[in-house]
Amino acid sequence: MATAERSRRAGYARSRTIWAYVVLTLLSVVFVAPFYWMVVTSLKTDRQIFEVTTWYPDPVMWSNYARALKFIPFARYTWNTLVICVMTMIGTVWSCSMVAYSFARIPWKGRDALFLVVLATLMLPGQVTMIPVFMIFKWLGWIGSYKPLIVPSFFGGAFFIFLLRQFFRSVPNELSESARIDGATELGIYARVILPLSKPALATVALFTFIGGWTDFMGPLLYLNDPNKYTLSLGLQQFVSQHGAEWSMLMAASTVMALPIVILYFAAQRTFVEGITLTGIKG
């Protein structure tokens, strides 16, 4: 009896596993297909794109990439984007960790009320503040420069403050107390106790800020007007509106733009998954 039951169960489990693989694989094909089509198109001749649709490129036109990279000032756009990304990364990590430290580790009057205000700003649609903020930057004469894209990051963002606060709170209080007895100031505890222990969370913030900067479109669209200062997002969009039918070049350019993020993912997979989990769940 028991053996029959067990083998019935094992059989059930096996067919379940097989079904899982079938469904997982079929869906994978659906998810991969757009990537496949992007790369394949980027390597095709115009004839293979417009006249006879083929499933793979023949011959393989690596020269499309060279052509796209020459046509679109890729190096310049990439450099511009990197400058913005790195600066906002520094600004965000610095400001959000400072502010989060205050909300997580220093008991001061009015702190919790103010933290509710931090959370409330998450609910505020960007459109409401967009126009006055634009006018502020216009008044400062910053339109056309990177400052409107970089400077705000030095003043903290609700999302990452929230994330870091959660993390800082999990650091045992004894550690800061013993540092305090040894004469450490609040700044010393922040820099030498909390930050070193929070590297995973800080890495998450840095990573997601970087990706945010890399993919941001609305910011550059609002504030940049000189084509020499365009970011990849804005430059690529401008290129589409001018050369909409150059599909092989457009696909080559899109591939090149997506590639760094994909590489980053494989290099820092754990940080990614932990970061998304941290941001999504503990809400």
Binding site: L24, P34, V99, L124, P125, V128, G156, T255, Y265, G280
Partner: protein
């Protein structure tokens, strides 16, 4: 005795003051940023919304005229609101269901599952502009991947982004491809559900369906709630894809609220009008969010404590 108590109190208040100063100092970047980039803009935007304002000359107060004009003379306001509601009511629930279903699929204990996780997650990493360009190509009516496949099985596909009836569904389809972030969040939630709950239910002879509705769904309801609230706020701001792929067309079928607002502000340079639109957007978003929060007591299950 008395003396030590007094000095203890003194020390206490000194520490409290020091903490207050330190706390404010550490929080000062955010406090300054809040004043300059949130509080002042909120007030200014409210004033602009009651002004004729081009962004060049000083704003001229005109009372509620912008609001009156929006509600009585702007057909595009209602059209763009309707388009946006489509994203909130159709696209968002579809996305939430799809990412939960994928997460459950990815929660199986089978070999190689991490490879599948990566595959489902990667599309969400593609920058918005790159994926917009890619999907414009996939949706190409004559030679795009979709219609080539449809044609190979003898179906003539629609014009997708070129057809007012298909443009929004096309954008929804594209959104589903990039649903991976939500999948990872659900997946982490599913992995936190104690296995013993399922084992106990199995002993009672519970079916898979009943396990889903009685264990899985209640246990991850806080995550669904979080994704729903953030999704509502995000959906009302749907912008980039429409700006790049369709410019709001064809026949304004993808002219979403945020796009209409952007055009009012930065194409027509009607900043006052756009500010009024922004406040209406804020109120609508707030009402929707509050309704969801109010009902959440009925369907969101918070287990013991944190």
């Amino acid at each position: 005795m008395v003396n030590t108590r007094v000095s203890a109190e003194k020390r206490h208040s000194r520490i409290a003051r020091r903490n207050l100063i330190n706390g404010l100092l550490f929080a000062s970047p955010w406090i300054f940023g809040f004043i300059v980039f949130t509080a002042y803009p909120l007030i200014a935007s409210m004033y602009y919304s009651c002004s004729a304002y081009s962004g060049l000359a000083a704003p001229k107060f005109i009372g509620l005229e912008n609001y009156v004009q929006i509600f009585t003379q702007d057909d595009m306001f209602f059209k763009s609101l309707k388009n946006t509601m489509y994203m909130v009511v159709v696209a968002l629930p579809l996305g939430l269901i799809a990412s939960l279903a994928l997460a459950m699929l990815l929660n199986q204990r089978v070999k190689g599952i991490t490879v599948y996780r990566t595959i489902y997650y990667l599309p969400s990493l593609v920058p918005a502009v790159a994926s917009a360009i890619l999907w414009m190509w996939l949706f190409n009516p004559e030679i795009g991947l979709f219609n080539v496949i449809l044609k190979s099985v003898g179906v003539t596909g629609p014009a997708w982004l070129g057809d007012p009836a298909w443009a929004k569904p096309a954008l929804v389809l594209m959104g589903l491809w990039g649903t991976g972030g939500g999948v990872i969040i659900y997946l982490a939630g599913l992995q936190d559900v104690p296995q013993s709950f399922y084992e106990a239910a199995e002993l009672d002879g519970a079916s898979a369906v009943s396990k889903f509705f009685n264990i899985t769904l209640p246990m991850i309801s806080p995550i669904i709630f979080f994704n729903l609230v953030m999704g509502i706020i995000g959906s009302f701001q749907y912008f980039t894809q429409a700006y790049i792929m369709t410019h709001g067309g064809p026949q304004d079928s993808t002219n979403f609220y945020a796009l209409h607002l952007f055009n009012s502000a930065f194409v027509d340079w009607n900043m006052g009008y756009a500010s009024a639109m922004a406040w209406i957007l804020f109120v609508i978003t707030l009402v929707c969010t509050l309704v969801v929060m109010k009902t959440s007591a009925k369907w969101v299950y918070y287990g013991g404590g944190d």
